[in-house]
């Protein structure tokens, strides 16, 4: 088995009180709605229920002053949906943030691992570890 390279995984959420206004799941959904042209198509793409996708859209729309997603006439029944200009701006702003965040984290990680190298990966059985 080839040596596995360490990977850095970054998550950024924006919360207000108990609401999550922005996060990786919501931003992935926004991108999927933009690509699919409907909430139902985006939900299928993300393997979530239509109801769940619709609730996430409602939360995003109610968090921001201007809605991020607009549904066409026909609405819930399947009239299609698209990102508003505001939705496009928020998605692009989030993606720009993640690019910068990942670049900064990777730079630190490279330095950290050059000072404190990882052990070569061995085939030894390990204790289960579902934590971070």
């Amino acid at each position: 088995m080839a040596e596995q390279k360490p990977q850095v995984q970054c998550r950024v959420r924006v919360t207000r009180g108990e609401d999550i206004a922005l996060g990786p799941g919501k931003m992935q959904l926004l991108a999927a709605i933009g690509a699919a042209g409907s909430i139902s198509g985006a939900a299928r793409e993300m393997q979530m229920s239509y109801r769940r996708a619709w609730l996430l859209v409602e939360t995003m729309n109610s968090c921001f002053l201007a809605p991020l997603v607009e549904t066409a006439t026909g609405g819930r029944a399947g009239g299609g949906a698209q990102l508003t200009v505001e939705g496009q701006k928020v998605l692009e702003g989030y993606e720009a943030m993640m690019q910068d965040v990942e670049r900064v984290a990777q730079r630190h990680l490279d330095k950290l691992l050059s000072n404190s190298p990882l052990a070569p990966k061995t085939g030894v059985a390990k204790a289960p570890d579902e934590s971070n």
Copy 2:
């Protein structure tokens, strides 16, 4: 109720294959071991079982070439534990990374929210939302 300010929450993990070499939980445990002088004291502080804390330490120690935590003679039975020089370096490197990551994310968030303001928080009942 006072207006709630949006907060940015960042998480960075370093993975290799299925192992999580570094993450917020492990780094909090390292800091707690440094403060408590033992794995059992750190586990109590973090309200996790001794067994779980010990497994997390084992994972960290096996991920790095040099161990991050050393246990004194007496070992598992309660002889105390402390961070090695390597452990201290990794903890400080992780904390420096998180400071930079949070600063970058906050700067992007400020810009994003000045372009796309959040709605004033209202008392309207909302759909449950446990997603991100």
